[in-house]
């Protein structure tokens, strides 16, 4: 059966069996991918995938079942499973659907230049990226891959309370991943583009950016272990901003996993820190008029000049705290939109000259394992540049960086003006965090 026809049948079946409340979400993804290696297409794919999530409310609890199969028998199977799961949930908190009565703001999300993409020969583009990378410098050792991807996503959500929303989006990217070599030293680097402006269609620019970044890493030394002044490049501090999203999630607050419980209106970070969740950012990768509970999204300053203003709520967590949803619900989880540290006034170069000596970190590794939200302790692999006499100097071989996120937020010295989203929905400018322990 076609998925859309299946949704109709499922909706009718749910209505006719007299369920308390129910909700159906339909997701459809189409994608194309290409990869070139040594001037030949090495990989090509063309995909389509759809899935449906049924949620049923029973005695205040919501049970769900997700299916990628749409046979006749799956209609009653999904209802049976969702209902069974709702009956087994015995948590005290009730769960809710949204009726769609609020007003949804018109938004302008990121979209690639689709017409220009249609006329582009993707294979030629990738071959040229590879060729230009090798031509850019003789120290380019291997272009490990250059790849292109295009995707379309459709989403529809309907429920028995009257909610009926949908949206469609497209995305495209290309990237090159390469290594450079000098003597025994090998370093890798990647560069991405999202085809938003004319320059993004120039293979030479893409190749050159990757090569330039990689070559800077060849002049490399080991860091002296100890306590150093540390500044993060925006694209590296994005990993820390993602951790902040966990700390302000009402779910983690209510499960006592974040230490920022009962801290609304109190200082959690230094004065120069403001943290924004902005669903309305024009051209943003996380721009969306609603959350994944169908609730209208809203702009919020989560931290303002160091003071915590709000947690991020969905319907259930908001009910627990006796407040309204902030439009950050995603079923059992919390989602963010364009989520970023507000840029400051100063250029990063001005901050280097104030820092005088220290380290400018451009990459963190092992994030998934080296961070404990409950204690806030973190220890990551990192790499970056030495800052000497107020200027960027040589590159540093991988070292460790350790600290505590709650302390780090309070010790932030300054936030630069170079906000970077790194082709995603989480963003950060360069951030000077004061002293941290680095080891090699």
């Amino acid at each position: 059966m076609q998925a859309k026809q299946f949704v109709e049948q499922l909706y009718d079946a749910c209505s006719s069996v007299g369920l308390e409340e129910f909700q159906i979400s339909y997701f459809c993804n189409r994608s194309e991918n290409l990869e070139v290696f040594e001037q030949k297409v090495s990989k090509q794919s063309n995909n389509e995938n759809q899935y449906i999530v049924l949620k049923i409310k029973y005695n205040g609890k919501i049970g769900e079942y997700t299916s990628q199969r749409f046979d006749e028998e799956d209609v009653s199977f999904m209802i049976e499973k969702s209902l069974e799961n709702a009956k087994l949930i015995d948590a005290e908190q009730d769960d809710f659907f949204y009726d769609g009565s609020g007003s949804y703001q018109e938004v302008v999300p990121y979209v690639p230049l689709v017409n220009k993409l249609k006329n582009m020969d993707k294979i030629c583009f990738l071959k040229e990226v590879e060729e230009r990378a090798y031509q850019a410098d003789k120290r380019v050792n291997k272009v490990i891959g250059s790849a292109y991807g295009y995707s379309e996503h459709k989403f529809i959500m309907r429920n028995s309370l009257g909610l009926n929303i949908s949206d469609e989006r497209t995305a495209a990217y290309a990237y090159v991943y390469l290594s450079v070599k000098e003597g025994n030293i090998i370093k890798t680097e990647a560069q991405e583009t999202a085809f938003q402006k004319d320059d993004d269609f120039n293979p030479e620019i893409l190749a050159k950016k990757a090569v330039d970044k990689a070559l800077k890493k060849l002049n490399v030394f080991d860091i002296q272990s100890g306590s150093h002044q540390v500044m993060f490049k925006g694209s590296a501090f994005i990993d820390i901003v993602k951790m902040l999203a966990g700390l302000v999630s009402a779910k983690n607050i209510q499960e006592e996993k974040s230490k920022w419980q009962k801290m609304i209106g109190k200082s959690v970070a230094s004065d120069c820190v403001s943290l924004i969740d902005n669903p309305f950012l024009e051209g943003g990768f996380g721009t969306l008029s609603h959350d994944y509970e169908g609730y209208p999204s809203s702009y919020k300053e989560v931290i303002k000049n160091g003071t915590l203003q709000t947690y991020l709520y969905g319907l259930k967590t908001a009910y627990n705290d006796g407040v309204s949803s902030t439009g950050n619900g995603d079923g059992n989880d919390i989602m963010v939109f364009n989520f970023y540290l507000k840029p400051g006034e100063q250029k990063k170069e001005d901050l280097f000259s104030k820092m005088i000596n220290g380290v400018y970190i451009d990459e963190l590794n092992g994030i998934h394992a080296g961070y404990d939200m409950v204690s806030g302790d973190f220890s990551f692999g990192a790499s970056g540049f030495a800052v000497k006499d107020g200027c960027i100097s040589h590159y540093l071989n991988q070292f460790t960086i350790s600290g505590n996120i709650y302390d780090l937020m309070k010790n932030i010295v300054a936030v630069a003006n170079d906000l970077d989203f790194d082709y995603g929905k989480i963003g950060s400018p360069s951030v000077w965090v004061g002293k941290l322990n680095l080891s090699r």
């Binding site: 490990i144 996993k257 059992n332 590794n365 080296g370 220890s379």
Partner: protein, 462 residues
């Protein structure tokens, strides 16, 4: 899942365009996760993964398409699309294929398939673990226990005539406990898992599991910040094997080796580790978490000696990369689901037992760090730089385990670290985990006996 005649037609359709290999992968999986927080069932995620992936090769070109719109027309259309992408000029040599059932000996017996066990029984298991966790120490204030199971039914058929079907059952319990003393809060996790049915829990000591998890959380309350710098580190058995997984395993996958970008490319027969290191990737261990009868390319799995006494003996090779490497595929082509193109991956990968006893290793270490339990890590196979985290650590002084320390990260480079393993214990143990790479997130076992690394960089807050 799919009719044999239809699959044959799909493969024939693809081959008619002149490609030299065609494959159909079909999957029908059902998964369940139940989350119990503070004694209450809070979330139940359940669902079905269902779809088909069609793949073709022409020389060193590979094309793939997946869909979950499954009917004759859509699948034949997908086959045409992928085969046309190969842009073959010569279509004169098209052989007819005959699909023959691959005889598979099932090494992994299942007694109680998870779908035959009622959810209340599964909830009962994690409820008892939760209760034992609270009961084991009064400093525990939260227990978050998850029960997971998955039934994964796959079919792989290809133009070499292979028709292989397998059903893989896995079950796992993953727990997290939080402990508090004054203003200090710490957490710890613990897990058990296997390629098994619910019988895994028949002889399972729930209380010991809960107590171990609670112990780890409570010990952290008194842990000091870990010192930084280069030092000898004793890495305990079991999940300690994540060091080999990151520092060596990934760089031995054809994914990196075939393109010549791995630090271990073109090193077969060469010495890459110290004499005491022998390592194996073995997907045939009965009912182990990372085992399967066949891989996701329809190749029977095997035991592979990766390193013997420091000498590199073999790589993990999938079908496509086997072409670039001119070496046979060895049953390591894996994918998270039909939505991923398979590539070479680890299964149960471990350092083999050596001769030293745990006490020998400890007593011969004057000063250093004892990494008792580990969490995950990552590696860049092209540079060899890896990192991984110590969950529970202790200072070693004069051959004795002293105060607990927390928050340590170990970093190093593959090429160097394997040479610095100078003692290997006799207490081999395996542990389960999940591994993420280009073909998705898959279950893997890591393992080792207790080992000593003569010098590695430790990063801590002190």
């Amino acid at each position: 899942m799919l009719d044999k005649n239809l699959v044959k037609d799909i493969l024939d359709e693809a081959l008619s365009f002149g490609v030299d290999f065609a494959e159909v992968f079909a999957e029908n999986s059902e998964g369940l996760t139940i989350r119990l927080v503070d004694g209450k069932v809070k979330e139940i995620d359940e669902g079905r993964i269902y779809g088909v992936g069609i793949r073709v090769f022409k020389d060193l070109f590979q094309a793939y398409a997946y869909t979950n719109i499954i009917n004759r027309d859509s699948l034949l259309e997908a086959a045409r699309k992928v085969a046309q992408a190969a842009d073959c000029r010569d279509t004169s040599f098209v052989k007819a294929i005959d699909l023959v059932d691959l005889e598979i000996e099932n090494k992994h017996k299942i007694i109680r398939a998870p779908e035959t066990v009622k959810k209340v029984e599964k909830i009962g298991l994690i409820r008892r673990i939760s209760e034992s966790t609270y009961a084991s120490n009064k400093l525990i204030f939260s227990a978050d226990i998850k029960y997971l199971d998955k039934q994964r039914q796959i079919l792989v058929a290809n133009s070499e005539g292979v028709w292989a079907e397998d059903t893989q059952y896995r079950t796992r319990v993953f727990g997290a406990a939080m402990a508090q003393s004054g203003a200090r809060v710490e957490s710890a996790t613990h897990s058990i898992g296997a390629l098994s049915g619910f019988e895994l829990y028949d002889d399972f000591d729930e209380k010991a599991f809960a107590e171990e998890m609670a112990r780890k959380a409570v010990i952290k309350l008194s842990a000091e910040d870990c010192p930084s710098g280069k030092m000898p580190v004793i890495i305990n058995n079991s999940f300690g094997g994540v060091i080999f997984h990151e520092a060596c395993g990934h760089a031995l996958e054809a994914t990196a080796v075939a393109k010549g970008v791995s630090v271990f490319s073109n090193k077969l027969g060469q010495k890459i580790a110290s004499d005491v290191v022998s390592a194996v990737d073995d997907a045939t261990i009965p009912n182990a978490w990372g085992s399967t009868n066949i891989d996701d390319e329809g190749v029977k799995t095997q035991r592979k000696q990766l390193i013997k006494n420091g000498i590199l003996k073999s790589y993990m090779i999938d079908k496509f990369n086997s072409r670039r490497m001119n070496m046979a595929a060895n049953g390591t082509g894996k994918r998270q689901s039909y939505k991923f193109i398979p590539t070479s991956r680890m299964s149960n990968t471990f350092i083999e037992a050596g001769n030293s006893s745990f006490d020998d290793i400890l007593l011969s270490t004057e000063k250093g760090l004892f990494a008792k339990t580990m969490s995950g890590g990552s590696v860049n196979p092209a540079t060899g730089d890896f990192n991984f985290s110590v969950d529970e650590g202790y200072i070693i002084e004069k051959g004795k385990i002293k105060q607990p320390v927390k928050g340590a990260k170990l970093i190093g480079n593959c090429a160097e670290i394997l040479q610095k393993i100078d003692m290997v214990g006799n207490n081999l143990e395996l542990a389960c985990g999940m591994c993420g790479s280009s073909s998705g997130s898959i279950p893997v076992t890591v393992g080792q006996p207790t080992i000593r690394v003569s010098e590695i960089t430790v990063g801590g807050q002190k």
